[in-house]
């Protein structure tokens, strides 16, 4: 299980390292693409947890992830439309998606307590990586003030998710 957690963390770390290593930071359409991909990934993970977990607290957490990340993407979509920014793919969004595909395939093979632990460990690692990306890549590079504002507004929710996930992680031990 640690191997999955480690692999997930490494994958996520390398994904955001790509973004940080780019000479030129991501453009606003690429940032919008990263935001949308990052939220969708966590909604999908939440849906898997809803169907695979029998733990009430894990189920509640998963539902919260689905509700919140869906709401963020709805707002991100509305803002992109208003600003006439078309979310664009980048190396970062592509790597995020392929790393998530691997994680989800691994999660789907697990059951019961094993699944709960793997899902929650992944949620802790994922939110840590996303928060790092928000601070180091997305906010510093966003050129449009409203896009930057949206990402800044999202940050406290992701922080609360991380706290919640860590709390769950400790209770599952």
């Amino acid at each position: 299980m640690r191997a999955l957690q480690l692999a997930t963390s490494l994958a996520a770390a390398s994904v955001f390292a790509i973004a940080a290593a780019q000479d030129k930071g991501p453009s606003d359409p690429q940032i919008a693409g990263i935001v949308v991909a990052a939220n969708k990934i966590d909604v999908d993970a939440g849906k898997i947890a809803k169907s695979h977990s029998k733990n009430k607290e894990v189920q509640q957490f998963a539902q919260q992830m689905i509700t919140d990340h869906t709401a963020v993407n709805k707002q991100a979509g509305a803002l992109a439309k208003k600003l006439n920014v078309k979310p664009a793919e980048s190396d970062t969004s592509k790597s995020l998606k392929s790393a998530a595909k691997d994680t989800q395939a691994k999660l789907k093979k697990l059951k019961g307590a094993e699944f709960d632990k793997a899902y929650v460990d992944n949620e802790v690692a994922y939110h840590e990586q996303v928060l790092g990306a928000i601070d180091k890549v997305l906010i510093p590079n966003a050129k449009n003030a409203e896009l930057k504002g949206l990402i800044e507004k999202v940050r406290p929710a992701f922080e609360a998710h991380l706290e919640h996930a860590k709390h769950l992680q400790a209770s599952l031990k």
Binding site: K153, P156, A157
Partner: protein
């Protein structure tokens, strides 16, 4: 007779004003950045509290004991509540139980 009328009118004005006062003040609480702002609010019995969700994710105003439940408030939506009973009412967001607030009704 004129003097009497004047008194009646004056009385009507005074009681009219009192009636307006009894309807109470309106207090605003913002829900923003996963917090209730202000987290603690002191009001008088009869005052109205309006919570408005300025956050990017949905929230609720839930005080199970006092049977107050706003339902899910999407971004931009408000919930109005008239505080009638004096005492302390602590509440949470049902979706994010880490979020706490308190209304003290004097």
């Amino acid at each position: 007779m004129k003097a009497f009328l004047r008194i009646v009118l004056a009385a009507a004005l005074v009681f009219g004003a009192a009636a307006v006062h009894a309807a109470g003040k309106t207090h605003a609480v913002r829900i923003e950045g996963m917090k209730f702002v202000p987290e603690r609010l002191e009001v008088a019995a009869g005052d109205t509290i309006v919570w408005t969700n300025k956050d990017i994710v949905p929230h609720t105003v839930t005080a199970a004991e006092a049977k107050v439940e706003s339902g899910e408030l999407p971004t931009g939506k408000s919930f109005k509540f008239v505080a009638r009973k004096s005492g302390e009412m602590s509440y949470i967001c049902r979706l994010h139980p880490v979020m706490h607030g308190m209304v003290v009704v004097k």
